[in-house]
Structures are given as C-alpha cells and as structure tokens.
Symmetry: D2
C-alpha cells in the first residue's frame, strides 16, 4: 500500500499545524490550526469574517492547496487537542472536505464552539467523539485503522492519533509532554506506545512535536508546577489584601490547582474573562473536573464588572480572581485591571500571580512588560514563571524513539532552527537526514512507501 505524507502547515513555524497521511486511497488529516500571531500583527482584523485565501496569504492558516496532489479521499479530520494552533482553521478549511471531524470529547466541544463563531463559511462536517484508547476503521479497505493514544499536554483530553496500515503504524506525535503524574487525567500511555513499536510491522513513520527540541533534559511534570504554585499561594496565607492570578484559560489542570489552593488559604476563587468561562465551563460540563459548587465563572463584561463590585464590597481579602491576561494582552482582563478600567482596585502590596511563562517573542515581551509596569504603578507585586512547558524536551524525544523504534521520522511544530536539535538527536540514534529522517517544509509531499 502506498503511504504518502503531506506536510502542510507548521513545518516552518509553531502554529497553523496541518498534516495529511495517505494510506492507499484513504487520507486522514491531522490538525487544522491557526497561527494567531500572524493575525494579531495586523490592526483590526476579524478572522470570523475573513476568507480562507486571505488568511492563507497572511500565513495565518495552512495553505492546503497541496491536498490536490494527494490522490485519495479524505476520510477524517483529526485534531489532536483543543488549542487554536491545532483546531483554529477547521472553521475555514474543513468544509472543503467531505469528511467528519474525529476527536476526543473535550476537543470536539471546542471545535463545535469554533464553528459556531464562524461567519463566513457554513461548516457542516460531522463531529465524531472518540475516547483515548479507542480505535475506528478508516475507509473501505478494511485494513486501515485510527487509534487514539492518551498523552499529557497543557490541555485535557489530548491524544496522539495512530494510523494503523498494512505497512506499519503512522504515529502523529503532536503535542505532548511526558507526564507520569499529571494533576488531571491519566498519565501518558507509554505502555501502549511501546506495544505499537513492537506489534505487527512496527512504526513506519513518526511525526514529532519538536517545539522544545533544542532544550536539554526533561520537561517537569505538572505536579512540579503544582508544588511550586502551592508554595507561592500558601506563602500568602496571612496577606489580607488582594491576590489575583492568571494562567492559560485552557489549562484546566492549572486552573484546578489555583481553585483548590485559593480555598486552602481561605479565599473564594472566581474565574473571570471570556475564555476562562469558555474552557473551564466546558470542562465542568463534560465532567472533566469537579469544581466547588459555588465557583463563579463569568465571561461577559457586565457580569465580570458586577463580580468585581461584589469583591470590592465584600472585601478583596476574601477572594482570588483567576483572570485572563498572562501574556499582557492589551484587551485581556488583567491588563484592564492594570489600567484601572475595572471596578477592582489594586492597592500597594497586592499580589499578582502569573502561572505562565512569557512566550519568548518581542511582541509578547513588550506587552507583558507594559502590563507589569502598569500593575507596579498601582503598587501590585509580581510572582511569575510558575509554570512548566506542555512540550517534551530532548529526553522525552529519546524515550519516544526508544519506545516506537520508527523506520521514518518527520520533525514538525518548529522552523528549521527550532528543530535543529532534533536532527542531531535522531542522528545520535542512527537515523540519517535524507534517508529516514525527513526534514520538510510547508507544502511538501513525502513518499514513504511507493
């Protein structure tokens, strides 16, 4: 059976991920993501109203024109998890393909919300839920299957899809951290990866998340971030003023820890900001978390402001607002608080906890700097970098190669500079660039079996 892989997006950048695998006549698409920074660099762009081609020209969504060179029928569109750089282009591209979106329940829910917000295209692909550990048949050949292997990332319900073919398995490895003690959900299913490496024809091809490929050592478990966060919040137990925290809205494990430690130090947690409400609300509705019954979540400006007023009335010392704005985004909640645009009044000594790392890019760094400066002008004090990455460092990559023993490797989720360390790493394990290690660019086709 011919096996061909199209590296469509995310092979020259982090963002707008998209890869297609053809096994005989059947094609499966993994991820359809959005590169948000290519949108935000422009003023006043509303992606909801924009046409795909304009977004492709902007470098915001994958240029999927190479799909016409791929002979076969798309049978499924499979986002691996709910981050925008993996699902954000579904509303712009999926309607071109006569195929369902297949994903885990939490991811499907986020895809649904994404599609509902779309104003240009009517996206009507079926949305099919499949749990980690499950398998479905692909196409009519009867010998191609799609399996979801549970992995750990900075969002819940993340999986690595595996396409089982007669030639061996194609493992799509985006995005993951190797975490044996995640705070929510099961540990990464390394046992299954090892089995896949040994069974049948083994692993034909492994497409890897190279985000941290130039970083040595091991990405710490979420439990380490939790231990750090606990130390920070417990140290504030005696403080009788305002404490505010911010983190990635989609990072349900982290939000859960914040909620829990807030309670431990005698404060009522409350989640504020549109995306805070969206992700945490969805996670709660789907029973991924069991938040305290009285946990408030507010997204709309009016209800947020009403909550802030209540907090000011009842005493800041009784609350711990968890808000959006960890990157200093100009319109996020924390930045608005810093500018004095909300009813929440910061006082000298108030504490602001950034349970996040600044994404190391000058735009973010500039915005975070401004947000921190404005907070500081009001007397607030900053605790930052209480975080661990969602992506494996080099030692995780070594472990994956050891488990899967793939015949071919395709590095993804980085530009050439960013994945360079992964090439050396693979060479250390006996692979050779141009032979079985395929460094690709957006829009390329790689024939693995012909």
């Amino acid at each position: 059976m011919e096996i061909e892989i199209a590296t469509i997006g995310g092979y020259e950048e982090v963002g707008r991920q998209m890869t297609a695998v053809r096994a005989g006549d059947d094609v499966v698409i993994f991820d359809m993501g959005l590169n948000l920074s290519q949108v935000l660099i422009h003023d006043n762009v509303e992606t909801e109203r924009m046409h795909s081609l304009d977004l492709i020209d902007m470098g915001a969504i994958p240029d999927d024109r190479v799909m016409s060179d791929l002979e076969g029928d798309v049978q499924a569109i499979v986002p691996t998890h709910g981050h925008l750089d993996h699902i954000g282009a579904i509303s712009k591209l999926a309607h071109r393909y006569n195929a369902p979106v297949v994903a885990t329940p939490f991811t499907i829910e986020l895809v649904k919300q994404q599609i509902e917000g779309e104003q240009k295209f009517g996206v009507e692909n079926d949305l099919i839920k499949m749990d980690p550990g499950e398998t479905m048949s692909i196409g009519d050949s009867g010998n191609v299957d799609l399996e979801f292997v549970n992995v750990t990332h900075s969002i819940i319900d993340a999986i690595n899809p595996v396409l089982h073919t007669p030639e061996g398995a194609v493992v799509y490895g985006l995005d993951k951290r190797m975490d044996h003690s995640p705070v929510i959900g099961d540990p990464i299913d390394m046992e299954r990866f090892r089995e896949i490496g040994r069974e049948g024809n083994g692993v034909l091809c492994y497409i890897e998340d190279c985000t941290n490929a130039n970083k040595k050592g091991r990405t710490p478990s979420e439990s380490v971030a939790r231990s750090h966060l606990k130390d920070v919040l417990y140290s504030m137990e005696d403080y009788d003023g305002g404490i505010v925290a911010t983190t990635f809205s989609s990072h349900i494990a982290r939000v859960t820890s914040l909620v829990e430690f807030a309670k431990d130090i005698g404060r009522q947690p409350v989640l504020l900001g549109r995306s805070m409400e969206k992700y945490s609300g969805t996670a709660e509705r789907l029973d991924f978390v069991d938040f305290p019954g009285d946990l408030g979540m507010f997204g709309h400006r009016k209800s947020v402001d009403r909550t802030f007023k209540r907090i000011m009335n009842e005493g800041k010392e009784n609350f711990l607002p968890v808000v959006t704005g960890h990157q200093g985004e100009p319109r996020a909640m924390l930045t608005r608080m810093a500018r004095g645009e909300t009813p929440y009044e910061l006082d000298g000594g108030d504490k602001v906890v950034f349970s996040a790392r600044v994404i190391p890019e000058p735009t973010n760094e500039g915005q975070r700097y401004q947000a921190e400066k404005l907070l500081g002008m009001q007397g607030a004090r900053i605790y930052d970098d209480i975080h661990v990455s969602g992506h494996m460092n080099q030692e995780g990559h070594y472990e994956m190669l050891d488990a899967l023993q793939p015949q071919h490797i395709i590095p993804a989720h980085q530009d050439l500079k960013g994945l360079s360390g992964y090439v050396t790493l693979c060479e250390n394990e006996g692979y050779q660039m141009g032979r079985d290690l395929h460094v690709s660019r957006n829009g390329n086709l790689i024939q693995i079996v012909d």
Copy 2:
C-alpha cells in the same frame, strides 16, 4: 548606648562577608568569609600557606583594618552558617581578636575543620556552640545579648544572629530563604522575628542579605526543588545504565533527597569527592541526617577509584554516584569522569543530573560548558537546573521588613548594582537613602546611635 556598625566585607561583592557591630564598649563580629573566585583567578595559589595581608590585597578576605577605628572589645566572632564566604577567613583573621567563635553546632564543626587545615597561623580562639533559639550575654554591661533565630538556607543549621541592646535589636540577616517547608530542619522562625519587631525598642537596625534583591517574586521552597528532583529521578526508573548526580556538597537537604530517590528507583547511592564526604559525614556525625546505614562516602582519590571499580564490576545500573563538580570545576570528580580519568565509564544514554544552577559568571559558565561538552562526547545526557536559590527574592524582603519594622536598614551581600532593587523596595516602604537606609561600601563605619 552608642551603636556603630562597620561594614567590612561583602558590601561591594558577594563573598568575603564581614560586619562588626559595636554596642557601647562591646563589639561583635558577624561572619569572616572568603571570596574564592578572587583566589581561583590566579594559578597555583594555596591559601593555606598565605599571609592575611596578601589575601586582603587579592580581595580574597575582608580588609579588617577599619576595626582599629572601632572603640571597644571584640566579644564574639559569629559566623551565621558554614559556607566559605562566611567562615573562610576565620583561619586568617580570628587569631587577631581575643574572642571566641560562637556558632551553631554544624557551623562550629566546619569552622574547626577550616582551622585545622590552616598552615600559616595558629588560630586558637575558643569555639562555642549555641543552638538556634538560644541566647547568650555579651560583655560585662549586662544589657547586651546575642540571640540565634532559626532561618532556612541552602545549608543546615543556619541562623540569623540578633544583638539585643538597650537601643533596640540589631538583626544581622545574612543568608536566608523564607522557607516554610524545608526538607530538613525547622521552617524559618518568622514568629520570633515578628516578636523581635514588636518587643522593647523594636529593631534598631537590620542588615539584609541582598543577593537576589533584583529578582521579583518569591524564592521557592526546597520542597519544590525536591518535587522537581523526584520527577526527574523517577522518570529514569527503567533506565538500566549509568546515572550520576551532582550538587552542592554542603547542601545536605538536597543530598538527602538524592539519596532517598536513588533508593526509590532501586539504586545504591554513594557520595564521592572530598567535600561530599566532609559535609555529609559531618552532618551524619552530628545527627542532622539519618542516612541509610550502607551509604558509602568516599573522599580520598584511592577509595573513590576503588568504589568506581566496584560499581563497574557490579553494574552501573545498580548505583547512583552523587559527586562533586556541579560548576564544571576542572579538578572536581564529575569533570574527571568526563575526561575519562576515573574507572567509571560513561556510555551513550547515561544520565547526568545537575541539581544546581550555574553561578552566572563567565568563568563558571565556560567551565560548565566544557564539562558538559566532554560528558556529551561520551554520550552522556544532561539534566540541569534542578535547584532553588538559597536566598530570598523581593517578596521575602518585603515580608522581613513587615515583620521587623526596623528603624535603620543596611543592604549587604551584593555590589551596588546587585542591591539596587533593594533600595527601591525600601523606598516603597517609606525608607529614604541617606536617612535611614544606609548604602555602604567595604571599610565604612556607620554611626546609628551616638
């Protein structure tokens, strides 16, 4: 009663700490340290055989000539803990003063070993042990007392000495982290600090450890480093090759965690290198730790080599050597292993865990880089930065000011650039440079009460 403070060493650098406080006719000296980097920059220097004046000229030990301007009798020399930059000059300077060295038991033991290694001067000062929480009378006035308040640092048995005078307390705040869950020993005694701030005339003067004064937020607890280290070592449980760890020899809490986690993953820990043996042996002898009965500690070259041979014979997969060399020091054990100068043979895939941070200075960075490169040439893989600082960041400083409410403040343990953040911090709290906030330099006298 006249109160005068001589800022003798460590006010223009980190290293060679020394401060003298005169209360009426009685003088107490806090710390007598060595700035090792000023020694190592020269080739072939043996401090054991050197005269004080040469070491002063080199900037290696405090220039204590200002002591002659201080009218009063030295009643005690009080090192706060056992690090070289606090005790390393005792063997060179203490014999000039007719006064005992007063310190906690572990510190006294290290001072004793220091003095025994001295070859130039016969240092015969009495060595007096006093536990944290205890108090002794100073001089004959009857109203000056020395108290030891328990603090947490990257070495055990660290204290902050407090000189109680009729004018108020002088609190000498070097060195500490604000740790409520240290792995060994008691948490920092904030309750006592708060009492001292309120009782009698309160705190007349606070001399502060400004090492991290330009860093925002809170230094994490040792328990966070422990959680990180556990995650790293547990992730290696299935590895059947060599694992080697390195950390600060004097960091007994970290060594204890390494020993414990080694056992957890089925390996026999063994401590190797002269200073590993010295500090851990001393801690065990004084009952600060309860190491497993079969824990080997070896310092002499021959016994180390014999141990390495045994490890190679019995299988590297059964051991976890904890060795010196975390900064890539050219003659330390790990660097010798990297150069293939020991019987321990590194293989591809072996793991080297640096539970330490590179001290950010180009000499160290260059040496660490070389050590890592040599390790890498043998196939070893590096895990680094598994560490937390022993010094408070800005939030700890705010808490200390809140607890002590000192009338005067003297920043120490940094140069002007390094302490600059502390000046701003104190100004935020209402202090004013030149009035009650005294930025000093080596060799100055500050009259607090006249």
Copy 3:
C-alpha cells in the same frame, strides 16, 4: 558662600532631568525634562492639556517641590540641549519661576516651539540665547557667572553649563560624548575643561551624565557612524528599487550624512514626518546646516502623502525618503509605511536603513519587532544598528575626571543600577562614597559648602 545642590529629577531614571544649584542667594536650574515613557505607557494621554501635578504623579516631569527648601532666588533656567528629557517640562514648570530660560540658539528655538504647543499654562519666561564659549553674570553678588562650554552630543548646539562661584566651579556635565571629529560643529572643548580644572579654586563639584557608566571603553565618534553609514548606502548604489532610511529626527549630523550619501548614490533625499520637518527645518533656518536647495521637508499628513505619490510616479529608484519611526513607534511614518497606510509601496528587495539603535526596553523592542515584521511581510530588508551613542562610556568619564579634578562628584542621568559602574570608577580615582562622591535620589538636597 554656601553652595547647595538639589537633585530634583533624573537621579532614579533616565528622563525628566532637573537639578538646581544654589550659590549664596542665587539659584540656577539646569534642565527641566520630560520622561516620555511614563506618558506613553498610558493610553490617550495628551500632555499638552495636563496639569503639572498630574504629570508629577505619573513620574513624567520632575517633582520640583523640593525647590521650596532651597533658600534663594532662581536666576536662570538653563537647558543644556534640545532633547525632550531636558526641555520637555519647561512648558509645565518654568512659569513658576521668575527667571529667564538661558540656552544656546538651537535649544532656545526648540524651547520656544515647546512653549507654543502648551495649552494649559501660559509660559512667559524670557528666552535668552547664549553661544558656547560665552559667559553671563548671575544675580547681584557680582561673583557668580554662568559659562557655556561646547560639548558634542547626538544633537547640535549642546553645551555643558559651568557656574563659577567663589568656592570653585560647579560643572553640570549632562549630556555628552567625547567627540573630536563630530560631523557638524566643533569638537568637545576639552581644553577649556582642563583650564577650568586648574584655574582659581578649580572645580568644586561635577555633576556627570552616567547614561553609559556601565559600558567600558570609548563611545565612537560620529565620524565612525558616518563611515558605517557610507559603507551601507554606497553598497546600494546599483539597486534600482526603493530605499528608505530612518533616524532620530533631532540628530542633525546623521540626517546631514543621509542627505549627502543619498545624493552620492544618485537619489533625491526627502525628509518626511512632523519631527523630521521640525528639527531639520529649525537647524536650516538657524544656519547650522546647509542642506541642498532642493531638499524637501514635509511634516503634515497631506504634504507627506503628496510627496509619496510623486515618488511613486517618478520612480522610487530616484529617491531616498528619510522618515520618522526608528523605534517602531506605532504612529510614526515608517510604521505607517509598513502597514501599507501611505501611498509609498514597498516591494520585495526594498531596503530600510535604521540609523539608530533600539532603546533597550521591552516596549520599544516589541514595537520595533512588529515594525520590522510588517516591513518584512512586504519584502523589505532591514539594515540596522548604524549608530553610535550620544553618551560617554567609561573612558570618557576617566578623561573628564582627569581634566576637571573635581572636589565633589554627583552622578546623574541614571538609576542606581545604571550608575553603579561610575561609583567604582570614581573610587578607582580616589573618591569615596559618602565623602566626596554623592550618590543621590530625586528630591534630595546636598550641601557642598556650608
């Protein structure tokens, strides 16, 4: 005669410079500057309409309330040169003092324009022009004189004022580079500084520009930047597309070089942007430069757009627009060009020359990054860092101390971290902090002679 110095602004930051010197009954104020970054951090602030007290609270202009502690009459307000951080608060503060503004002709012209733009206060102080090398009498005592010594900086007509008193000279050393081959104007008058160091009672006090006090070596001459710029522009001689340059509008020497080299490579230079027109127009009107007769300068939006249209019509290859926007300021000309908001169309291969350095602060770095990214998206290619600083590095400071041999020194124009290197430097020359080396903060009074 009593000599007292008030360090009012710019002693904890770079920006909002202001210092007052009292000699007996006479007071002279040096500089009244604006810290623009404290304004820009806020949205929608229009300083023209704001009250002084609000601007003081924002940290934007000097807090001159300490002036009431200074017993004497203000006889002159003396800005050293025309940069905003030295003249920008005159329109907000000068009317409180019954004294003329005394400055060099170019500076006076800029002060006049500043005052004309003021909408809140009517500033009616006399404006008196005095050339470098000249001297005027201050007050009625008959023995206090004000002299202007010619210095070199990144703006023309800069001087260091010297207040001659019976106790010795007070030299106000802000801002300068030690340049013996400036492109425009005379070299720094070191001969006169050396004379002042030797004559009469010598130099009583020297207030120094510490902007670059932590940088070793020597700041290169403007002639080095010119040589670099020439190499860059000449290398583009054969390019037949668009070339755009940007630099500091007030940097007349640099603009002159750009104009000259544009001609050399066969292009018509044209200056675009409000502040380009303002500074270059002023310099030309006052005969500081002799621009080609046909050099266009346009500031108003309409005339700029008209010029761009003409350029597009006649061929980009015939022009070299010199525009504002070297820091990526969102509303500057170059950023508007990058966003496609002007009639000038960038094509692939077009060249953009930044004859400026990014001011190393995350806000600027973020904005410059965005501007460069937008330019890059249109195919433009960037040449940057073609620049030299306007401030002396350490070797310049050593030379000034050698020339002046001052009895007292006050470091200025930096925060504590930024001036820390200058303290060490002065100590190397025998000064001592707290004795004759006065590290001050905003709002302090230093009694030099009492």
Copy 4:
C-alpha cells in the same frame, strides 16, 4: 558530464571545512580544515604527533572516508585562504591523495609552514601558486578549468575557486565578506561573479559560506573597522603610559592599521607573539604589506622578553606592542602580561585595545573574562569590539544570488541552526529545499548532474 559533490566537513559545524567536487573523472577538493576547539577541549593534546584517524574520531579534522565512494581522480587540493579551519588538516590528509595543493601565494606559504610542522606524516604533495584572476586546466578532459576569483575576507589573498565544467560553473563560496574598500588588496571581484553568472551555462551550483546567515543587513567594510580603530587610538594621543593592542594575527589589514595609527600617535609599534611574527613576517616577505623598516616582530620567548625589557627601559609611552591573546587564550602573550609573567609592567590607567570580537562560545567567553579581570586587577582599562566580521550577512547573500543566479545551492560552514536563515533567504528567491536547495550533512554525496 556527471557532476557530484561530497560535503565532507564543515556541514555540521564551523570548522574542519572540506568539500569535493567531481566533474566526470576529475575530482577537486576544496579546503582541508581543522576544528581547533575539538582539540583544545582536551588537555595536553599535540596534534603534530597525532594520527589522522584519532583526529577524525575527535571531530577535529574531516572524515574523508566518503571520498572512496567518489569515482574519479583527485586532481587538486584547493584551500581558499590560510585560516586553520581551511588548511589545518592538509598535513594530516593531503598525503593520501596524489594531487598538488593549488592556492594563492600567501596561502601556499602558510600551507608550507603547516606541513613543515607536521611530525607524523611526510606530506610531499606539490605546492602550486596561482593568483586571483588566473585559471588552470584540470585533468585530461580538456574542458574542466579551475579559476580563482578575488574575494575579501579577514585574511589577505583569499579567493573563491570556480570549477568550470561543460554543465556550468561550480562556485565554491567560502569564506568572504563583500568589501568594496578593504584596507589591503583589491575589492571583491563582483564583476567577474556577474560574468560567470551570465556566461556559458551559467552557474550550476553555488556552495555558500553561511557563517552569518542568521544575521540581517550588511557586514561593514574593513574600512569601517579602520575608522573605529583610528578614533580609539587617536583619542589616546595624549596618554603617557602603556598602550597594548591585540588582534587576530592573521588579520594583516588590521595589523597594518594598528602599525600605522601607532606611528600617527607617536609610538613605535612592535609585533609580539609566535603567530604575530609568523603571519606578518610572511606577509611582508611576500610583499603584501610594506611595514616601516624599523618594525620589530618577535615570536620566541627570549626575544619577546628582551623587547619588553627594552620597552620598560626606554619608556612604555614610546611603544605600542601588538600582541596575541585577543580571545584570552591562557598561554597567549596578553594573558601572560595580565598574569605578570612578562617584563612588561601594567600600571593603573594603561590601555588594552581588543581589535577583535569574542567568539561567542562559553569557553572563549570565560577565558576572555578572566584575561580582562586579571588586566583590570593591574589597573588596565579595556577597549573592545573594535572589529568587523569576515563573513557576509544576509544582504551579501542576496547580492551573490543575484550575481550568480545558480541552478543549485548548497549551504556550508554552519550547523543546521546556523544556516537556517539561509534556507528562508533562498526560498524568498524561489529556491526550494529538496529540489535545488540542498541542505546537507558531513559525509553526504549530492548528485547534481547524472
């Protein structure tokens, strides 16, 4: 005619350059270099006595075993210039090939000295001199020629060899800066490159020096470094103590400028250190420079020490020693001076001019830091970074592509991270990775025409 290219060394690092081009039956080898840092990382290694295979294992010299896969006869070994990373392996590898070394006169002279120092192998290949601009026939086919095109680099007599074949020209582009005003020798011969791009079949393949491929803009001309150096040295004209300068020994243009400016400020220049004597002596002997008749050059320890004694006797203020040690190499002359191991005594205020940049690698940075610290301890003051790179930045690459219009491109002289910017640059110009843009690794064969 078959054209095949073997990328042997320098495709995963900067150092140990080696590339072979086969045109039909004839093979030409370009460069045989040494990666010195792979040697220096080990203690006590003497390359003169080492076998090739050990040096290959160390990663110090190219692994030329791939040459056996290249069917054809080596007709010439062509080093492009005299730097060690281009000629340093000739003494270890050239004897395996029955072919002459062909190079420019200065390079041949350095190769000869290199071979004379070899103690392990008898290297007896013919050494043939060919000037820039000249051409020789290669092999017996009668239609393969080797041409030398003059280029500008940080060493004199550098060329880019061009192999003219019936299929088009193969241009070997290592190492160069695009300099139209070098201080010594002719400008880069862009006219000839443009001709080669247009004549016959044009350029079949271009192998490019990617050292600075991630740096934007244009590398300044040597004339800019000269202008900077002049400003620095002229500023010292009145200093009556010691001035010492250091630079790359092989950088004859820079040494010439130092010699000239020393004279200008009334000092006798003198070149000290083995490699200073070697390179400058060779350049003078071959008439590349016309040093003053009385210029001393001394390499042997005794004559250096004698010179230093003479300088001390006759007065430091009359001399300007130009010495080795710009990277702080532990055994170089300047480091020995810093350690007080030479008769030259440094005093407070003496000036040390580094006309070089620290090679940005932690080992060098550590050593330079130590050298500067030791110099500082003796009172010396540092001027550094008076330098320009010898390699083109991105704009030079664009110009070369524009001139040559090559059909195929092979990036060289960097690792994958280092050359990543060049891939984007080529893609901007229409090339495509895997089609006509060949990113290679050490030991690969690339079939260009088959």
